[in-house]
């Protein structure tokens, strides 16, 4: 297959000469691939942006509905995984999405688009923190906005923390993820100072 991941995505290419890597942006539950583009655009550093969209429509009936149709707005959006009563990710759907993230990261590295930084918001932050646990050597940094690390008995408790991978957990209950722009920029700028060869 000429693409590892079959996720739908939006891609923005850095326009300047100072390209410093790719931001893989993971949206929140109920949003879509466009959600984090304004935040990414607000960063001064020049990143390519790859914003995939979770495959699971929250509305299996009308996944096609234009989100601006008021009748259907309440049912729009996509989610990365299901949750149990305690709010923990359901393993199978979480594993599927984590595998997709891995494939996207590998795709980026294979075509020379590293270093790769993960940026996740809410549910996307939980997925990003899961990737930090599972794939630390493929990543150069992870920014998690308003999301918890995944707790999956039998999996997350068996993994060591990603001690050598810089992770920023930003918590402010942002209603608009752009509110986190300064904190995200600060973390990424610090990381870029330390990135030389694309491998952290």
């Amino acid at each position: 297959m000429n693409a590892r991941s079959q996720l739908l995505r939006r891609e923005l290419r850095a326009t300047g000469r100072e390209r410093c890597g790719t931001l893989l942006a993971l949206h929140s539950d109920g949003a879509d691939s466009s959600e984090l583009l304004p935040l990414c655009a607000a960063l001064e550093a020049e990143f390519d942006v790859l914003a995939p969209q979770a495959s699971r429509s929250r509305n299996p009936f009308l996944s096609s509905a234009p989100p601006d149709d008021p009748r259907w707005r309440a049912y729009a959006g996509f989610s990365w995984f299901r949750r149990d009563d305690a709010g923990r990710p359901e393993p199978a759907s979480f594993g599927d999405s984590l595998w997709q993230v891995q494939q996207l990261v590998l795709e980026l590295l294979e075509r020379g688009d590293g270093p790769v930084f993960l940026l996740g918001y809410r549910e996307g932050a939980t997925l990003a923190l899961g990737a930090a646990l599972a794939l630390p050597e493929l990543l150069d940094g992870v920014v998690a906005i308003d999301g918890d690390a995944p707790e999956i008995p039998g999996w997350s408790d068996r993994l060591a923390s990603a001690a050598d991978l810089p992770v920023a957990a930003i918590r402010a209950d942002y209603t608009d993820p752009r509110g986190a722009a300064d904190a995200v920029a600060k973390f990424l700028d610090a990381r870029l100072g330390g990135v030389s060869d694309g491998r952290g």
């Binding site: 297959m1 096609s64 049912y75 299901r82 393993p91 199978a92 599927d96 595998w99």
Partner: protein, 587 residues
């Protein structure tokens, strides 16, 4: 890469943690039922209750609520980590004939005519309007009649219990037609219902499950999550007296069921062995939750249960590449969107009315070519032009404007498109039995499109009758292919589902394969929802409902909600029946 921290994500490991794909566990689950206390094995129980319900989807939750309503003490076992089974992922629509809302609206449900239409839809080969039971055998007719007679009561009863508030599903865009069209029908009667949210708006499957779950919580009905039923326990009289379950990552738990056990544990979509042995051909994916591995088939077989409709499923097309990458297919192709769009097989020819309902349309994948010795429609290629890509962008599986998705293949000409399709097929060959385009596909496809352009210019599909029926037109124009605003393209006038292809590229293709919402075969029940043995006698104390049993409406999908409607009706009957059983002795 540090050797101790080998990077990688094993989806199979996650499946195991979800309670599915447990190969070792599956083997033990196939063991025959335990010897009863009369045969020497001491029956020691961890819990005791009147009725055990296995599964927490619509059928199971409704059974538990009705068993409780009948005064029984109830316990629910759920194999997965999330309450609600496949219902929670679904559209949450239930098809129910003769609901009081119909009568309030002044519609008189013609009982005989509706029963005739249901009988004809379910068993077209047996149907004969002039014969008793419309020509159906007693058993098959009983189940359809019972669904008709009891379905509305089941839904109304839930409303009275405060466990599920319903509203007509036609609130969205008006009445929508059923998936079968009775002859001489003059008016659309929409028998689909939806859960009503507290704010008055409609809810989907997750809302249905939220309400049913709250109903169980209000009644303090315990639910054991992560518990997989693996065998039934019998006494010396061969009556069911309990269930042995395996707690995920833990030990076996035994629950005594004084009165009865209801299975509502879903179909077998995610059991590769059962799919291989029973389905009529390849199944590439399914929307059922990954824990739907057909556990009840092996458990009931060991009791001598009669199996039925094992070849059947609620069918739906899926995007091939998506199905190959997900443990539970995220979305199905309800209706391929577009008017300048056709489905062709590997020969480059059309094979079906692209707009007919998903259950029927998917059956066309199971056409065997005896000369070529192959499933000639194994994969169907949804071919469309730039017009459809723009006009209907965002209707799954078409990507919205500004996005891209690798499963969309593109060519500036039809010849280029054929090359792109074949290259993708080559890359996937080890997972599709080596499927490739026929040598003359690139020559045939332009002829097929030329023929299509002639037909659509006239607005009449002489080949497959696309758009001739009200289902095609209404579901196309009102749900799946209404035009995006601000488009430069005009809609077709003569037949809204048909438009000629542009003479200029680019052209696109998406590969579709057969999938399921879930299978719907399993042990056969009677009109009381009792599971029958091979001789047709009820197995004492054992009931079933939902997708784990042989579908009471046969292999046919009446309408939106044709899955959940019977699940609710027979869930109610099963719960009441189990609660009404006499207590069973252990010895």
């Amino acid at each position: 890469m540090p050797p101790e921290r080998a990077s990688g994500v094993s989806r199979r490991d996650f499946l195991g943690l979800a309670g599915a794909a447990g190969a070792a566990l599956a083997t033990s689950a196939c063991a025959s039922v335990t010897a009863a206390s009369g045969s020497g094995e001491a029956l020691v129980f961890d819990f005791e209750t009147d009725v055990v319900v296995v599964g927490s989807g619509a059928a199971g939750a409704v059974a538990a609520l009705y068993a409780h309503e009948r005064g029984a003490q109830v316990l629910v076992l759920e194999k997965g980590p999330v309450f609600g089974g496949t219902t929670a992922k679904s559209g949450g629509v239930y098809w129910i004939p003769n609901h009081p809302i119909e009568r309030e609206r002044g519609l008189k449900e013609p009982r005989e005519a509706t029963l005739a239409a249901m009988s004809r839809a379910s068993y077209p080969l047996l149907f004969n309007a002039s014969k008793p039971r419309f020509g159906l055998p007693q058993h098959e007719y009983d189940l359809i009649e019972t669904f008709y007679d009891r379905g509305a009561d089941a839904v109304v009863g839930l409303e009275k219990m405060g466990a599920l508030v319903s509203m007509p599903a036609d609130v969205l865009v008006g009445p929508m037609p059923d998936y079968f069209e009775p002859p001489n029908a003059t008016k659309i009667v929409d028998r689909r219902y939806w859960p009503r949210k507290p704010d008055g708006s409609f809810g989907l499957g997750d809302e249905m499950v939220r309400q049913l779950k709250a109903g169980l919580e209000n009644r303090k009905v315990p639910v054991l999550m992560g518990h997989r039923a693996q065998r039934l326990l019998r006494n010396a009289k061969s009556e069911i007296v309990g269930v042995e379950a395996q707690k995920l990552g833990g030990q076996a738990v035994r629950i005594r069921a004084r009165r009865g056990v209801v299975f509502a544990s879903g179909g077998y979509t995610h059991n590769a062995d059962l799919v291989l042995n029973f389905q009529p051909g390849p199944v590439f994916g399914g929307c059922a939750v990954p824990t739907n591995e057909g556990d009840f088939v092996a458990i009931s077989e060991s009791l001598g249960a009669k199996l039925g409709h094992m070849q059947s499923a609620w069918r739906a097309q899926v995007v091939l590449e998506q199905a190959l990458q997900f443990s539970s297919t995220p979305d199905d192709v309800f209706m391929p969107p577009g008017d300048s769009m056709i489905l062709v097989n590997r020969l480059g020819v059309r094979v079906v009315d692209e707009k007919t309902n998903y259950n029927e349309r998917t059956r066309v994948h199971y056409v065997w070519d005896p000369v070529r010795h192959e499933w000639i429609n194994l994969l169907l290629f949804m071919v469309y032009d730039q017009r459809t890509a723009e006009l209907f962008a965002g209707r799954f599986p078409l990507p919205p404007a500004g996005t891209s998705v690798p499963y969309v293949l593109r060519g500036n000409t039809l010849a280029e498109l054929a090359k792109a399709i074949d290259a993708r097929l080559e890359a996937l060959a080890d997972r599709t039995g080596g499927a490739r385009l026929a040598e003359d596909f690139a020559k045939t496809l332009p002829k097929t499109i030329a023929r299509w352009n002639q037909l659509s210019a006239r607005g009449v599909d002489e080949d497959f009758q696309r758009g001739a029926g009200v289902y095609d037109r209404d579901w196309h124009a009102r749900i799946w292919s209404f035009a995006n605003p601000g488009t430069r393209h005009a809609l077709a006038e003569k037949n809204v589902t048909m438009h000629p292809f542009s003479g200029r590229g680019p052209y696109y293709a998406i590969m579709l394969a057969a999938g399921t919402l879930d299978t719907n075969g399993g042990p056969v029940i009677n009109r009381h929802a009792q599971v029958l043995d091979a001789a047709g006698q009820p197995i004492p104390g054992l009931y079933g409902a939902g997708n784990c049993i042989a579908s009471p409406t046969g292999p046919y999908y009446f309408a939106g909600g044709g899955t959940l409607g019977p699940a609710v009706a027979f869930g109610c009957i099963a719960g009441e029946g189990a609660a009404g059983e006499p207590p069973k002795e252990l010895a």
